[in-house]
Symmetry: C2
Subunit: 270 residues, 2 copies
DNA sequence: GTCAGCGTAATATGAATGATACGATGATCA
DNA sequence: TGATCATCGTATCATTCATATTACGCTGAC
């Protein structure tokens, strides 16, 4: 699965041009701008290993030809990549892919690709471990410090969840996501806030992996309500505990889903 | 203090050109490349509030003129900024500064500027809160999972600290920093690893704020040793506890230093 | 004959300039 | 009020020059 990236290439005349997922060159992309499409493509190729860590990328001339973009666009995409800690360019030496430990995994683009490529179990368990550490602390801080506006946002998200309960739509996901984001924001800690994107990614992944029964929605609403009430009542310890419970459920759901997914892929391979 | 940024400007003829901290235009910068200098300058102006949140920057033509750089360099810097979540460009609408909650504070450049500009107390307390939450967890994980190479790196960093004890030089800081980084890396959790840069910044800040007496070095070595031993002996709970102690000390040192710094600035203002 | 040292050429990124395309904004007109 | 169009600023492309670093080759001494 790891090497199933979207960047295929096709011989046309003497040069090979890299194509996007729909078989169209980047030049004729859909809605996305050149830079966006190119960037996404590059991130994908790096994450998937087409461009391995510590390897040197083809030089700018080759890349512009392969992708069919101007050098300007390519270089701007490279600047973005270097801000993500994925590449480093030096004159004459070329552009090299940095080791993964330098990558900014919290960037939405990187996370998206990471989830799409399908990381290993360690990827998901790291994510859930981090959530179980951070979110209870954030909830406690929120209970201690949240102002009126922040409390409202949390409550609003919860009400949206309740309302979306019956019609099991995308609204539920959005509200759930907003609930957790609002609590982190209410914590008032900018470091915790940096993780909002990671938690967002974790939730999106779990939504995709687990097809929640609506019965489990009822259960989830109760758990979320515990968190909300504790924060409203300004009881940090209660909030922390309630959030620990909530993430505990999320963890078991996630591991179950992963086990199912793994079993499924094993069957299909035999 | 908030608006004391390095980007001064001077009238020369009909146009104003922005100068760097040494009074030299970016064009004649020292070692740094144009992009680096420009980027640093822009980040500084945004963090310090010269370009306020949600405000629209001058258009590219004006900026190129003010900074004395080409449009290429400016745009590449902008790409980097947009990767940091600090700006967003749209055709015709111009490029706007995004609200702080979107910024990637964990990026070394942003952190550097943040520390240089001198954030408020909430900035530092968030940092230390996050450390107290994350590092004990990372230490526990490291005790459980670290492989031989990772253990060696932690030990090596500790030995460097011991060696640097007498000569109270920069070596101590480097070793201390390496110690904490190595533990986080050994945790095997990529989410925790994203914090390495933040912790690095926190340590650098504390080195600058607190002029540790060498007696406190002796004390620090003992505390660090506790952590190291616990990890070596594969005792997660002990490692967690030892790290909690360590960060507790760091916290009190930091708050003391901040109080002193605040008092000092009050005196100098009267 | 081999290797150390130095100078130069080749090469890839860094930076500047000019031109064109595109899309959003806001004014104009029916 | 709503559709159309002029305008302005970013997006993209093409081309050129500058700069840094690598790599090659030359020379000379041991």
């Amino acid at each position: 699965m790891a090497n199933r990236h979207k960047g295929n290439s096709v011989k046309s005349g003497s040069m090979t041009q890299i194509l996007t997922e729909h078989g169209t060159p980047i030049a004729q992309r859909g809605k996305r701008s050149v830079r966006e499409a190119l960037l996404h493509c590059l991130v994908e190729m790096i994450v998937s290993g087409t461009f391995a860590e510590n390897s040197t990328l083809p030089n700018e001339a080759e890349l512009t030809e392969q992708f069919g973009v101007s050098r300007t666009s390519l270089r701007e995409a490279m600047q973005y990549l270097s801000a993500l800690g994925m590449v480093r360019s030096r004159t004459r030496a070329g552009t090299t892919v940095l080791p993964r430990e330098n990558w900014n995994y919290l960037d939405p683009i990187v996370l998206d690709v990471m989830l799409a490529v399908g990381g290993d179990d360690a990827f998901y368990s790291s994510l859930i471990d981090a959530r179980q550490l951070l979110e209870p602390a954030a909830a406690a801080q929120a209970a201690a410090n949240a102002n009126a506006r922040q409390l409202y946002q949390i409550s609003k998200a919860f009400e949206d969840m309740v309302e979306a309960n019956s019609r099991d739509t995308e609204d539920w996901s959005r509200a759930d996501l907003e609930f957790h984001t609002a609590i982190i924001n209410a914590s008032g800690n900018w470091v915790y806030r940096q993780f909002a994107s990671a938690i967002r990614a974790a939730l999106l992944a779990s939504f995709r992996l687990t097809n929640r029964a609506s019965q489990s929605h009822e259960q989830a609403i109760l758990t979320h309500q515990d968190v909300l009430e504790a924060i409203r009542m300004r009881r940090p310890d209660a909030a922390r505990h309630a959030m620990e419970q909530l993430i505990g459920v999320a963890r078991s759901e996630m591991t179950d889903a992963l086990r199912r997914a793994r079993k499924l892929s094993e069957i299909s391979e035999t």
